[in-house]
């Protein structure tokens, strides 16, 4: 079974192997780093409450992405709030993304291809190999959204992350998202770490909106 950060990134890969535009947004980056922290919480490697994140076990097996995140968490001697870590880990977000993409390639889910943009600029694409895992993640999201039962923590959190990261638009029309809004609200982020990530993203969006308002109407 894939981890949350792997599934989130997999949902951001489009049919051409490009990472969706939304993956470059600050909201996606916060949600993606949040996915790593939630994965650590679900694996009982960290314990989270509204005041602090505490490390329970440093052993994160062979997951290079989680190893990097855990290394950062252990660099601070005093426990910090989740919001602090979401901001602090932004400095590592490119490396966290690279390590997660590599893990998906190593598992035979994506392949890494060199490509050219405008025949000159080189870029890298990550097309899915057979798409089974990506389809399965989308199917689980759809089954939860179209059903009426309480989802598993993992499915609930994946929906919340996909929603926050703007990834639902990749496989649901705007009209469908609006129609499912009530169910999305009900089943997203049924987990404390995920709820705190959602709050941090809302605060970031409000700060961006305030900054835009100030720049539009200078005093």
């Amino acid at each position: 079974m894939l981890s949350l950060h792997q599934e989130m990134l997999l949902l951001a890969v489009n049919d051409d192997g490009d990472i969706e535009f939304t993956a470059g947004t600050s909201t996606f980056r916060l949600a993606f780093v949040g996915a790593c922290l939630i994965e650590l919480a679900l694996k009982d490697k960290i314990e989270v409450d509204p005041e602090e994140v505490r490390v329970i076990s440093r052993d994160v097996d062979n997951d290079a992405t989680l190893n990097l995140v855990m290394k950062r968490l252990c660099e601070h001697s005093t426990p910090q709030r989740l919001g602090f870590w979401l901001s602090h880990l932004q400095a590592d977000v490119q490396e966290i993304t690279r390590l997660t993409l590599m893990s998906l390639c190593d598992q035979g889910i994506l392949k890494s291809e060199e490509s050219r943009f405008l025949w000159v600029l080189s870029s890298r694409k990550y097309p899915v190999i057979d798409g089974t895992e990506q389809k399965e993640a989308k199917l689980r999201i759809m089954e939860t959204l179209l059903g009426d039962s309480i989802p598993s923590t993992e499915d609930s959190v994946l929906i919340g992350l996909a929603r926050a990261g703007g990834l639902l638009e990749a496989f649901l029309s705007r009209k469908e998202i609006v129609r499912l809004e009530g169910r999305l609200e009900q089943v997203s982020n049924l987990e404390l770490t995920a709820g705190l990530v959602e709050l941090a993203i809302q605060e970031e969006q409000e700060a961006i909106a305030r900054a835009m308002l100030v720049s539009s109407y200078p005093i």
Partner: protein, 109 residues
């Protein structure tokens, strides 16, 4: 954490006293799961003496809510203090678990 369990008119009332964190989560989950399998019509978790709940502890409630849904019985929580209620709200548990101000409310008395 101290856990007590009693039956009241087909409903099993579980009382948590103290902290519900990583160290207590497994026991809390086991007690909730066994109460749901034993109960006739539902389970109420009395949180009146619960003064802390973390991400790990909270998961026991989601497991309880799912087990109750599968069995077709009610699963409620009551008497949450401000901090614990805030954790429930942040986690969206107030959307899937019926929260009540007092045990009497939760029991429908």
């Amino acid at each position: 954490m101290e856990i007590t369990k009693k039956e009241q008119g087909g409903i099993i009332v579980i009382s948590f006293c103290g902290r519900l964190g990583f160290d207590e989560a497994s026991e809390a989950q086991a007690v909730i799961e066994s109460a749901i399998s034993e109960c006739q019509s539902g389970v109420v978790v009395d949180c009146g003496s619960l003064d802390y709940v973390s991400s790990a502890g909270l998961r026991a409630f989601l497991v309880g809510a799912k087990a109750a849904e599968t069995k077709g019985v009610s699963f409620r929580a009551c008497a949450l203090d401000e901090n614990v209620e805030s954790v429930f709200t942040i986690s969206g548990f107030d959307r899937i678990i019926s929260l009540h101000a007092t045990l009497e409310d939760a029991l429908g008395q």
